[in-house]
Structures are given as structure tokens and as C-alpha cells.
Amino acid sequence: MESVINMALLVFLAGTAFAILRRTTLFSVVMLSGVFSLVSAALLVHLDAVDVAFTEAAVGAGVSTVLMLSTLALTARHEAPGTRSRAIPLIVVFLTGLALVYGTLDMPRFGDPSAPVHQHVAPRYISATAHEIGMPNIVTAVLASYRGFDTLGEVTVIFTAGIAVLLLLAGTIREPTTATKITAMEHHLVLRVVTKVLIGPILLFALYVQFHGDYGPGGGFQAGVIFAAAFIIYALVFGLETAGNALPGRAVRILLALGVLIYSGTGVVSFFFNKNFLDYSVLGATAQAGQHIGIILVEFGVGMTVAAVMVSTFYAFAGQNPPIGDEEW
């Protein structure tokens, strides 16, 4: 049964990928790519990677789609018919694929418990997390503590992206005009009411995910995305200007940086106890408690930066002047 679902989802993915290749309407492409993420997230759940699935769904199906749609709104709807030769790319890709297939021949079989990956390093995480970190979610433990520095890097990556988007787009954000309110969807009765009702629960869900990352799937990153989603939906329905008044871009920029500082600051604290960077064990009475506090702190930093980056990126994209001129859909 498991392999049937597995296969089915994989085939879905392949089908979707081919569809993306074939379609020239960019809108379809974007929708299909959202579906691709959604299916791969389902597959990730199936492969026991719940945290990853959580993230992939939030990112691939959520954030990417919104960003791509904004881009489409500002650029073009159709792909121009290709003029370039496709033989060379095909050959290159085919050879690359062939190389990879060749590489699979010596791989351990799928799901093989005796594969080398399951023999070294990972078993220790599984066996030691309970007493060293003291939280059920091993992924969070590894993410935030054993390989906490990777995650600091990850936060820096997302911070970089936030800064980069600001650098690229902040200069072309349009000044709000008096007419802007018209296009807020406020007059859309159903949307307005439902959104108002949902914002609270969405925010709550975000914070729930933020603080329960130790116990189940989730954590700062996912929480940040959901948190930002609440703002995005608010901005979609009530207009960017309203959203900007409630949460100004400058404040977002501060939060953006603050998150990274919280994370790295948590690491720096260890210095004062003459411990290595990111050694949380000094933060609490016992090493385990220290780890727990440390992880909560860094996850908080992650969440803050991620949410701020998402919001500021959305602001930057949505605030662009759409090009003049139209083309038929």
C-alpha cells in the first residue's frame, strides 16, 4: 500500500512537471508549480519528513505561488514561442540524468534500514536527543542544536534574500495614491468578513506552530510563514496601504534584522560562560534545560526574521507599479 501511494504521488509529480514543461500560459505554469509543491509535500509526509512537508507546503505552495503571481501581474502572461534549438539542452540533460541513473546502481535500495546513512551520525541523534536535548522532535533538536549553526546560516540566507529584494525593488515601489483604496477588496463582502474572522485563528495557529516545534512538526520557519500569511491575506483584502499603515515597512525592516540578532545573540551568550558558540547548555540550570531555552530563543529569532522577510518581500512585490498596456488573457 505504502509503495502504491508513493508511486502514485511520484507519477503525479512527473505528470505535473511535464505539464509545466508543455504549457506556455504562465498562469497555468504557476498554478501547476503550486500543485507540484503540494504533491511533493504530500510525498514528503509519506516519507516521514513531516517537518519538511510542513515547510515545503508553506513555501512552495504558499509563498512561491503568491510571489510568482505578483511577478506575472507585473510582467507577462505568456511565454513567447521558443526559437532556440532544444537539441543541446536535451542532450545535456539526458546525459546528466544518465549519469545520475548510473550513480543509483550502487545505491542502497529505497527504504533499506541497513543503508550507510542509517548507521552513522543519525542513530546518535535518535538515541541521544531524549536525554541531551529533552524534546521529542528530533528534527527540531538537530536543526536548532546539533546543527544549529546551519540554521543560523539559513536565517542569514533568508535575511539576505530579504535585503536583496529590498535592494532590488524598494526603489520602484509606487507612492500610495488616493485612488488606491478602490482596489482593496473591502467591498467584497464575503472575503472581508471571512478574512476578519480568520485572521485571529491564523495568527494563533502561527504562534502555536512556533511554540510547539519541540513536540511536533513545525518551528520558527513554518510559523514565520504562517504569520506572514495572515498579513498577506489582510493586505490582499484590505489593500496594501491599510496593511502598510498597520505594519509599516520600516518596522518590518527592523524585525527582519532583529531576528538574526536574536539567533546569533543567543549563540554569543555562550562566550560569556567560556563555552563555544551556540552552546545552549549554559542558558539553564541543567544542560538539558539550557538546550530547551536556547532552542526556544533561536526558533523565535527564526520565526521573526522569516515572517518579516515574507511580509517585506510581499510589500515590495505588491507595491510595484504594474506595467502600462495589457494583453488579452
Binding site: 467584497h188 463582502l189 464575503v190 472581508r192 474572522v197 485563528p201
Partner: protein
């Protein structure tokens, strides 16, 4: 005994739900135009989803899982008609004409109870 009953009920719900979802999807493919496709899609969203979730709730017994299943259900209950309405509305506004129905003309205004939007 009770357990067996619950099990049986859960099966029924799940299978019924699965059936409805399938029917909905089939309808989505079969129906001739956009507006008619909205209806079978609604099957999946409403009863299909609810049945499956109910079946799962019965499996889970009363626990945190139940709460979450319930929340999913509630969320879908709120959002799915909203989305459907929004899509339909967008299509109409954009000028997509139903193929098998005429958009009736706007009846004359009855009263001027304006300023509804806040």
C-alpha cells in the same frame, strides 16, 4: 461492541466520503462549462471532506487529533464556500459568460438601504 459499531460507522463514513470525493472530481471533469463545474467541486468540499474527517474522528476517538480534525473541518467550512464564491465572482466580473444559462438582468433597486459595506 461499541468499538465495533464505531469502527463500522467510521468505515461507512470514510467510504462514503471517498465516494463523494470521487464523484465530485468526476463531475469536475464531466461538466460542460466553468459555472456548472463549480457544483460538483462543492461536493468534494462539503460533504466529501466532512465525511472523511468524521470517519477519521471516529477512528481517533476523543483526543487532540479529534480537535485538530474538527478544526480542519471548521476551517474548510469557512473557506471553501468563500473560495468558490470568490472564483465564481471573479469569473463573472471578468466577463466569462455561462454557456448554458443567461445572466439575468439586475432587477430594479427596491430600497435605498445603501452604505452596506461598513
Amino acid at each position: 461492541m461499541i468499538a465495533l459499531l464505531v469502527e463500522a460507522a467510521s468505515w461507512t463514513f470514510l467510504l462514503l466520503g471517498a465516494f463523494l470525493v470521487l464523484v465530485g472530481a468526476l463531475g469536475l471533469v464531466r461538466m460542460p462549462d466553468f459555472y456548472t463545474r463549480l457544483h460538483p467541486a462543492g461536493i468534494t468540499d462539503s460533504l466529501g471532506a466532512d465525511f472523511i474527517l468524521t470517519g477519521l474522528v471516529l477512528q481517533a476517538g476523543f483526543s487532540l487529533v479529534t480537535v485538530k480534525l474538527f478544526l480542519i473541518g471548521a476551517f474548510l467550512f469557512f473557506t471553501s464556500p468563500t473560495s468558490t464564491h470568490a472564483i465564481a465572482n471573479a469569473a463573472l466580473v471578468a466577463g466569462l459568460k455561462p454557456r448554458h444559462a443567461v445572466v439575468p438582468p439586475r432587477p430594479p433597486e427596491k430600497a435605498t438601504q445603501d452604505e452596506e459595506a461598513r
